[in-house]
Assembly symmetry: C2
């Protein structure tokens, strides 16, 4: 009985995700679902990427949080359209919430929407939200065993970002282990090494995203 | 309808949690629920604590993981009773799973059981598992905004451990912010500053836990 309910919710979520996709497609918008653990650096990375992309593309942000608006305040400082989506305790964003909140953004004036998902390496991976691209962030201090321990998040993503790469000297992080496991669960998927603090690698990731925006608009 | 089902699951979980508590109480065992983000340092901390406690107390471990047995292998090296609990995708441990797995441990020969919950700052906080003590770990690299963003995990815990404290010089971490927010949501609850790598602070936390074991046995 319980499982049945869950399946219904999941099926329904996939239907709504398709509807969100159609809405975004009609507006030629590329929506990016940014996922990762608490403290992996999602907000900072979104901020840096928008900084690189904004000369060519018009960006908006949906800030997912369980409570509060700490992140939305940081994004609002950029002076771009941003809305806060509070899940009131829920551990992931569902497509229905995106469908409800999209009209709050000026869709005719946007090329890309970044959705910052709840900080969580588990549940967000299970829920499509109508995105064109999924980015999973793993920060070096989290450790090199995360791909084995949270496989779905690394399997169902379009690219992996190793963040806080400048911290490598201070942590016992076996990069080869991560790369090998990532290649096993998600063969051929791209991987970016960045440090949001030093700025290293941000341009390469921004170029990759620009390519995805172009694809969504063609 | 959906909410109703959730409430039923939660109520049922609380009932089972009470049953687990009774079983443990009959065996004079203190069970500790260790929670925190992926990579906060749960396994390493459990290992270090057992190392400090084992001369006086007999410890066992339940290793919660979504998949794999990376952590259980690390614990098994200590030569103490350990069982692996795979949730097969679920983002938290429920009391029912603990009830099922307890008979796998030699309950007559244990004083303390550490349960390593799934790496997740959200869902585990909602589910009692029959524990006597809850420990929430927050590591310095995760950032100083986590108490505001994941309030339940810091409200419903018996103590907060700031781990990787030796990394403080490398991260922009406002400790006063964390302490003030923690005091707001959980007034008077203890806080420990530790570095599992250097060993600083581990003894103080071990002493605190020893006191809890004594309480559970009295």
């Amino acid at each position: 009985m319980e499982i049945k309910v869950l399946h219904q919710v999941m099926d329904w979520n996939e239907d709504v995700s398709e509807e969100v996709k159609e809405t975004l497609s009609a507006h030629h918008i590329c929506m990016i679902n940014v996922m990762g653990s608490p403290g992996a650096g999602k907000t900072s990375l979104i901020t840096s990427l928008i900084d690189k992309l904004r000369k060519d593309w018009r960006a908006g942000v949906i800030e997912g949080d369980i409570a509060g608006q700490v992140d939305a305040e940081r994004i609002a400082e950029l002076g771009i359209p941003a809305v806060q989506l509070n899940t009131d305790g829920a551990c992931h964003i569902e497509a229905m919430s995106i469908q409800h909140i999209l009209p709050e953004l000026p869709l005719d004036d946007l090329d890309v929407i970044f959705v910052e998902n709840i900080g969580n390496l588990v549940c967000p991976a299970e829920f499509l939200i109508g995105e064109s691209l999924r980015i999973t962030i793993l920060s070096i201090p989290e450790g090199d065993d995360k791909v084995e321990k949270y496989p779905l998040m690394f399997t169902d993503t379009d690219c992996l970002v190793l963040n806080k790469y400048d911290m490598m000297p201070y942590f016992d992080f076996d990069e080869k282990r991560v790369c090998a496991n990532y290649e096993t669960v998600n063969p051929g998927a791209p991987l970016f090494r960045i440090s949001n603090r030093t700025g290293d690698g941000i341009q390469e990731l921004a170029d990759f995203i620009a390519e995805q925006i172009r694809k969504a608009q063609s």
